[in-house]
């Protein structure tokens, strides 16, 4: 998704200014007074926005200094938080507290108006509904103007700041080792998050009970609130750890496991928290267990998740088709703009249909990376990557600096020592109960085991970040939610600073190999290497390393790597891979085997329409650039005719492949798999490979 981070702030500033312009036919002096006031307000808005921008600028400069001096103990997000904290302290204690001029009006309607017209001495003013506030809080609605100015609508995080972060995560997920570990990643993300949520929720309920016994609780705190806290705090965000992994070139499998888990568990945590909020037992005895409501919540979880997934996948597929069947790649600007708009529309489409935009955007990003990316022109590839990289960078640092600010400027903090200590213990136990048992179970199925030091590292890397914060700040209306928010904030601070700073020592203590898979070419290319170090999640695959390169050569001792691939890919993944390679890739991109050879013969008409001429060119190992669609059309039909005859006349495409390069018959599927996974950026070599999975596999 594609919504940049900061412009919303401008709108906050812009919105107020509108007030000044509506002055109608009243006298000039009064108009002037109103205008002056509105202008003053606009200026204040600009100043507060400027504060944030200068904060980010300062963060960027300090990051540079740290990178320059190779300081690793503090990550940029931690830095952003510190600067935010400092500004928060200044705003909190350095600005005078002004009281707002609010007054309750009486009215006997039973539903509030969305728009209100107020007649003030003959002039009419238009008001819009901002929301309901609880009666106890009437008098501190507008305590301090400045503090209020720097406080945003929490939905801003979900609608503006998170989408580019999540989209970028999805778009950069096209990693070689991600798909190899897909099963484990899915297990960690789904089962792990659910287990973690449930365990934390129950432990926290115990803590709450204890607090009630000790008289430390001044308001209600239900079991569902505890579960919600569990869902919120289960969203891990090891951005700091991953940055250091990248920098030190730590083990790629561990990186894939951690990154994949963190990306997907954000989605799970969002949907999980929505489902828990939706858990509304019928009748008046609320917050007690109700089987019907429970199953409804489970249904909501599945519905929202699959719906959002579908939305994301569908827009991704539509973008892939559009970029495939138009010659838009001649115009990188148009292509980039289209890509941006389509990705954004995913978010809106999902929200319009009642699904979760952020989740849809994640899957859209993955789909775009998997299919659309291959259809883009070289320039658009770098453009889209860079565009989303900048948006992601700004949004992420903005959220973290806002977090620092919120610790002092948020006006309803409730810090309860028992709850906080309980929460720290609970997240530790929750993470442990999720990593170790799951790893044990996964190791039963995996040939390439997740070793103990990897498990410890994953346990250690359970940082909480932007997603937990955004989920917690979304609803801070009640006492329990305020306490949860304050606790989440502290957990994020602690984990980002302490755990982030301890990553390098931890890696060496756990004997996890670093400097792994560092190609020497890379090292020589200083600028590229530096770029790698700055990008938090560099979305390039590392250049082909020894193993995959040898496979491409078709000789050498490639048995080890091939075996590994086989081990990692379960039957479900193999099934998907074969479907993806034989049908989806040829339909949506210019690569893969021609559909005319993979689809049954009665589909030949559709297959003919959907297969792009490039595929045939690739097929014949002709890598000439096609300049015009019409010119190639004639050749196309001829080529097509030939291919169909071959496919029907012989014993099928498998034989055809075999006859082409008989030496590699037995392992052709693994090779194609290997090539596709390993050489994502080297599409040229993997194009046109027809993959038919030999069912007599010796795995």
């Amino acid at each position: 998704m594609a919504v940049p981070a900061l412009p919303l702030l401008l709108l906050v500033a812009g919105g107020l200014r509108a007030a000044e312009r509506s002055g109608g036919s009243s006298s000039a002096m009064e108009e002037l007074a109103t205008e002056k006031e509105a202008e003053e307000s606009h200026r204040q808005d600009s100043v507060s926005l400027l504060t944030f921008i200068l904060l980010l600028t300062l963060t960027i400069l300090t990051i540079w200094l740290f990178k320059h001096r190779r300081v690793r103990f503090l990550h940029e997000t931690g830095l952003a938080m510190i600067y935010g904290l400092i500004v928060g302290v200044i705003l909190r204690y350095g600005t005078p507290s002004t009281s707002g001029h609010d007054k309750p009006f009486g009215c006997s309607q039973d539903r509030p108006f969305t728009t209100l017209l107020v007649n003030v001495s003959g002039k009419f003013f238009e008001y819009t509904l901002k929301g309901e506030i609880s009666p106890g809080k009437i008098h501190n609605v507008e305590q301090n103007d400045m503090l209020r100015k720097v406080t945003f609508d929490p939905e801003v995080f979900f609608n503006i700041l998170l989408p580019p972060i999540i989209f970028h995560a999805g778009y950069s997920l096209k990693k070689r080792h991600f798909f190899r570990n897909l099963g484990s990643i899915l297990a960690y993300a789904f089962l792990g998050t659910a287990v973690s949520c449930f365990i934390i929720g129950n432990l926290m309920y115990g803590v709450v009970k204890l607090m009630k016994l000790m008289g430390q609780l001044s308001d209600k705190f239900y079991y569902t609130d505890c579960l919600l806290f569990g869902a919120i705090i289960s969203a891990t965000d090891p951005v700091t750890v991953l940055a250091i992994f990248n920098e030190l070139h730590a083990d790629v499998d561990l990186y894939a496991l951690l990154f994949g888990e963190s990306v997907l568990n954000d989605a799970v945590a969002i949907v999980l928290s929505s489902s828990i909020v939706a858990y509304q037992p019928t009748g008046e005895n609320t917050h007690a267990f109700d089987a019907a409501a429970f199953f409804k919540s489970v249904g909501i979880f599945l519905g929202i998740f699959s719906g959002s997934f579908m939305m994301g996948a569908v827009t991704g597929v539509v973008t892939a088709l559009v970029t495939k069947f138009t010659k838009l790649h001649c115009f990188p600007l148009l292509e980039t703009a289209l890509f941006f708009l389509m990705s954004w529309s995913t978010f809106l489409l999902a929200e319009a249909c009642g699904f979760t935009g952020v989740v849809a955007v994640l899957f859209c990003g993955i789909t775009q990376a998997h299919y659309t990316y291959n259809n883009l022109s070289v320039e658009s590839r770098s453009r889209t990557k860079q565009l989303f990289e900048v948006l992601h960078f700004l949004a992420e640092n903005f959220i973290f600096s806002y977090m620092g600010l919120a610790l002092f400027t948020f006006q309803k903090h409730i810090f309860s020592p028992i709850f906080i200590i309980g929460a720290f213990i609970a997240i530790f136990l929750g993470r442990a109960a999720h990593i170790y048992p799951l790893s044990f179970l996964l190791n039963l199925g995996r040939r390439h085991k997740i070793s103990w030091n990897f498990q410890h590292m994953m346990m250690f890397s359970g940082l909480r970040g932007a997603m937990a914060f955004a989920l917690a700040i979304r609803d801070t209306a009640t006492y329990s939610h305020q306490m949860m928010f304050s606790t989440t904030l502290l957990i994020v601070f602690f984990t980002v600073w302490i755990v982030g700073g301890g990553t390098t020592p931890m890696l060496s203590w756990l004997n996890i190999r670093v400097g792994d898979h560092v190609p020497s070419v890379e090292e020589m290319n200083e600028s590229r290497w530096l770029y790698f170090r700055v990008g938090v999640d560099p979305d390039q695959d590392p250049p082909p390393t020894n193993d995959s390169f040898q496979v491409l050569q078709g000789d050498g001792p490639d048995s080890e790597s091939r075996n590994r691939t086989k081990q990692e890919s379960a039957w479900l993944f193999r099934l998907w891979y074969s479907f993806d390679h034989n049908y989806l890739k040829p339909i949506l991109t210019h690569s893969g085997p021609p559909l005319t050879t993979t689809l049954p013969s009665w589909c030949s008409l559709i297959a003919r329409c959907l297969t792009s001429p490039q595929v045939y060119d690739n097929q014949e190992q002709l890598r000439e650039e096609d300049s015009d669609f019409i010119l190639n059309d004639g050749d196309l039909t001829v080529t097509y005719g030939d291919t169909t005859i071959t496919a029907n006349g012989s014993s099928g495409p498998h034989t055809a492949t075999t006859s082409l390069d008989g030496r590699r018959t037995k392992s052709s599927s693994e090779e194609a798999l290997e090539r596709d996974l390993g050489a994502a950026d080297h599409e040229v070599t993997s194009r046109g490979t027809r993959l038919v999975f030999p069912l007599e596999d010796n795995a």
Copy 2:
């Protein structure tokens, strides 16, 4: 400036959702009802946003089709307007009109509250002030929900959509021929816009008088309103014409004149309209001439303009210094983010200080292009260009499609045939009274005259676009302003469609050479050429053409081009150029002569600090990449010492240059000028050239 176009819409969607979350401790059922309603509203917002995005997507695809089939009669902005019109018609006549549930409340305060708490059957709701509305309009505040949904706060255009457009214009202004024609461009932009505004204003006042006589005017229409209309409609926007110029490679001088004028006159028109709005005669006989108020307005014009200029220049200079003195260029992501944030802060800084953000952003863009751009890494150069290109493209097409939509969805249109016809005549006369006399006067000073066909083409290219629309929609509270808005809309439609479509015939009819200065290298490079054709204002200089190239070679018949340079550059420009080249460029960038040679000897300490080591390297024609600041420090001092002695010991730097390449002594200044203007992207060759203007110039 750097605020993307569309996210604001999301905020509109996001803002409403906040209402749902504030439900406190009331009963669950009621909470559910409110939540449902808020969710419904959020969905509707998403749908209306989606409409805009699909509109833009459709526009992009049609643009591609047009480019693909080489259709030139309709520009993308015209296309966006047509699609907007269609959607507007559907929304207007296809959706049922729903009446809002507004009710006036009575209150005897004399000032409105910014926040209102309304007690609705025991529940408190928070409302925020949206603005005053005139008593006559109370009942049509919320006529149609859907129409209201697709109507934005006009300030959104100024705060979100215009800044990236204007910044991009400034950032791409670094054109070879722009500085050559600077004097003429400034004259057209400042004098021309003022003349045009005054003439249109007076003509329209005549039209208004006529309408009053004929009884066609139902409300007040003051002279200041007429002048405001003149200012609004004087902002030309020949985006369509320039796109075609680019495509056909029309005369570069004409291109520079038109582009420069349109960019700068936007700024003039904004400030002019603010000054006219600020014209507030004292006493009760408003809207009569008041000398004090008039001079105050003039003062405001000068104040806002110079203030905004300063703001833009200062942030540009700060960015240049930051990028020069840090090694940020090793980290393109950080560099791009910093560039984006600094450019944005210009806007906020200017708004916070009471100046005009959009104008500040324009000058910031120019400064960034002139200085900062040279300090950026190669990757950041393309990143920043591409980022702002995409933002500009999206914002521009969004504004134009919104214009199409507004023709049917704006609910207070007042179309007066006499006023509209009068306006068309007035803008024609205003443009004529500005182009022809000014060209005549300029031709007195210019050696390279602006020919008649150029003048006719400039006359013809007086399109109105985004800026006129944004200025007109900014205030539609009164009868006169509504009529002005409707008329502006029609003028934009007419000029974009008719004039835009007639550009190609007009060019051939006026015998203006096309295909001029098309380098053959360029033609060969198909992708780059296509890129040129899509980008509306390609921000690259064309590769060095014959004349400048020959100058760089130091031989050949370069007298013609050199003379031209001399002719075009007036003494003011020469003064500025010498100052810029000797002091500003060395201070702010890594190019230019070392400060130690250009500053007096008593400034040597400062000069030493400010001059970057690269300059000395360039000086010695050593183009080796410096990898570390500390390493070079030693060499630096030595080089510095030598240079100072040379500068003091001999008869000055001019001699030093002469001794280096004696053959070109006489023309060294023109050459440096030529090189600097012509080879903007080929900094390497012009770096290290010490320019001292020979005062015995034979011009």
